[in-house]
């Protein structure tokens, strides 16, 4: 019985790491970057975060002269057979300990929320842990910094892609605004990309006519120009990377007055 209780209490002490992770997961890009570092991520989340939170709470408790009976908890964790359980004495101490854990879980979530804000504003976590990969750098525009020069990365409004894909019939050039991209599970290998307002262009030369050949039947004639760009029906186009030959990236910036942004008609 005591052994099970010890395991339960240990789990309680680790719970701030879970609430922290759930809060961090709300930021999709950070979640994606961290998931590619599964081992490192688990180690630091399940060690550093609970330790940090427990230290902060204990320091606050010291300041306000609040005590949690850790000797009691330690006896339970160790499953000390000489330790006698008395419900009357144990009740308030257990409630205090559970309240302590609840506070730790809450602070884990708050810490995760703060980390998200720091990541969104300054990419703090990505820089601190060296998160990122070639696709992330390319799609975020960090690739513009590759020469070490100052760049206009912060000016990027949209990322426009030309994606050359191979189908059974022909090579098709899909163009559109990149809205999302997905990695393969536990990998930084790109799985598929999502384009909005996509257009497609068949790169086959347009067929013109069959003309009778002098000796052998007929001969086909093709236009020198390839097909025009046609809008793809639907709002989003999902392109699996297995069909992609190459991607051309263009970072776009608009000159539009700030006050006109919210007035764009549907």
């Amino acid at each position: 019985m005591n052994l099970a209780l010890g395991a339960f209490i240990l789990t309680l002490l680790f719970l701030p790491a879970i609430s922290f992770r759930l809060a961090v997961n709300r930021l999709e890009n950070l979640k994606g970057l961290l998931s590619s570092l599964s081992i490192t991520d688990s180690i630091w989340v399940f060690t550093v975060v609970p330790i940090f939170i427990h230290i902060i709470i204990l320091l606050c408790f010291c300041l306000f002269n609040v005590t949690v009976k850790f000797d009691l908890i330690l006896n339970i964790i160790y499953s000390n057979s000489r330790f006698t359980l008395n419900n009357a004495i144990l009740g308030p101490d257990i409630i205090k300990f559970l309240g302590y854990n609840l506070l730790a879980i809450f602070l884990g979530g708050v810490l995760g929320f703060m980390i998200n804000k720091l990541e969104m504003r300054w990419k703090l976590v990505s820089r601190l842990f060296g998160l990122g990969n070639e696709w992330y750098e390319a799609f975020e525009g960090d690739i513009l910094n590759i020469s070490g020069e100052q760049s206009n990365v912060s000016n990027i409004d949209l990322v426009y892609l030309d994606v050359l894909a191979n189908t059974k019939e022909a090579s098709i050039l899909y163009s559109g605004i990149l809205v999302k991209y997905y990695y393969k599970p536990k990998s930084t290998e790109l799985d598929y990309i999502v384009l909005q307002r996509a257009v497609k262009r068949d790169l086959r030369k347009e067929f013109r006519s069959d003309k009778p050949h002098v000796e052998a039947g007929k001969a086909s004639f093709y236009d020198q120009h390839t097909g025009d760009s046609m809008p793809v029906k639907g709002d989003y186009l999902i392109i699996p990377m297995k069909e992609v030959l190459n991607i051309n990236i263009t970072y776009l910036y608009f000159d539009i007055p700030e006050d006109a942004i919210d007035q764009l008609a549907e």
Binding site: G141, Q150, S151, I156, D157, Q196, V199, I256, A260, E266
Partner: protein
């Protein structure tokens, strides 16, 4: 992963006419755009009382 989209970009993607005009401007003038030329195109602006056209310029972002 969410792609890099600014506040302006989000507003454009929400507006069908604006994003269609943008795509048309980019697709039809891609060579000029690649050379760093700002491409003008028109979007409809609705200020609650009236609707008017606004010229917007799109250009590519490069390293300085």
């Amino acid at each position: 992963m969410k792609a890099k989209i600014s506040k302006k970009g989000t507003a454009f993607l929400k507006s069908t006419q604006a994003s269609n005009a943008l795509i048309a401007a980019v697709v039809n003038n891609f060579k000029q755009l690649s050379n760093g030329v700002a491409i003008p195109f028109h979007v409809a602006i609705n200020d609650g009382r009236s609707q008017r056209d606004l010229e917007v310029r799109v250009r590519k972002v490069t390293s300085m």
